[in-house]
Symmetry: C2
Subunit: 147 residues, 2 copies
Amino acid sequence: MAEDYPVQLKLEHQLCFALYACSREMTKLYRPFLDELGLTYTQYVTLLVLWEQDNVSVKQLGEHLLLDSGTLTPLLKKLEAMRLVARVRDPKDERSVLVQLTEEGRALRSRAEHIPESVFCQVGLTFEEGGKLRERLQQLVEEMQKR
Amino acid sequence: MAEDYPVQLKLEHQLCFALYACSREMTKLYRPFLDELGLTYTQYVTLLVLWEQDNVSVKQLGEHLLLDSGTLTPLLKKLEAMRLVARVRDPKDERSVLVQLTEEGRALRSRAEHIPESVFCQVGLTFEEGGKLRERLQQLVEEMQKR
DNA sequence: CTCATATTAATTGCATGCAATTTAATTGTG
DNA sequence: CACAATTAAATTGCATGCAATTAATATGAG
């Protein structure tokens, strides 16, 4: 490698790449657990939102997950085909589609409850460390969304 | 929302989601700069590796980027079609494909050099803070890869 | 040397992400 | 009220990611 290679372009110095790599590796750790539930990672986080608050619009889901209808519509149709959610037009605003958990979708929650802790243990993070890192990342997301 | 909702499943408490969201938002900040160069984010990080070390195999690229040939092969074919790289079989091991920058690919580097700093400024991170966060994420990636 | 094993890319199939466009419904203004 | 502007999903098109399989080449144990 040339000695005069500009330091600011080195892959090792890129925060963006550290985030990108870390996110993908984390998702890989979830995969075996999610496979047991027959869920993809994105389907899983969508259910996390719904387990917290049922009967939310696609728009609201997108605001929580930072995803748009281009990603959510096909994903929700799959969850619907799996009988985990129902999609119904909001009678009060026919533009909106409300996503509602089915009994089966609600029931799946108990089988998912152990997953975050299982993954957390695997990476050897203390609750303290993980929380700090998460808060730092959440700050950064907020900062970036202002732009 | 039910008061007894299990705290460990709240989206806000998930490190995995903070990483996932932060990585995607960061990539969005890069997009306008990369659009100017006609590159996607993944093409960009691939070039970061090549600018540091030219003439590397697909396998080596994958080790740096944590990507497999399923992702890299089509991406490299696109970079080849854009005349930024060449793909040649390694004469010493015909199983390997070596990726080499073209003159044009090498030249693109000078137009990319300002990008990391431009993005960094936008997010309002000090060099110090960004570096610490990056190192923490790199540690975490290493930890996860052991599993 | 030889053939089973391992390694490297390429291919295939599926599920995202996201920009851009389209369609349908609602809202605000004169 | 009429209608332009806005909003919410859906659709389309393209580029990943990644598991699984395949094809070609290299390696190593006997």
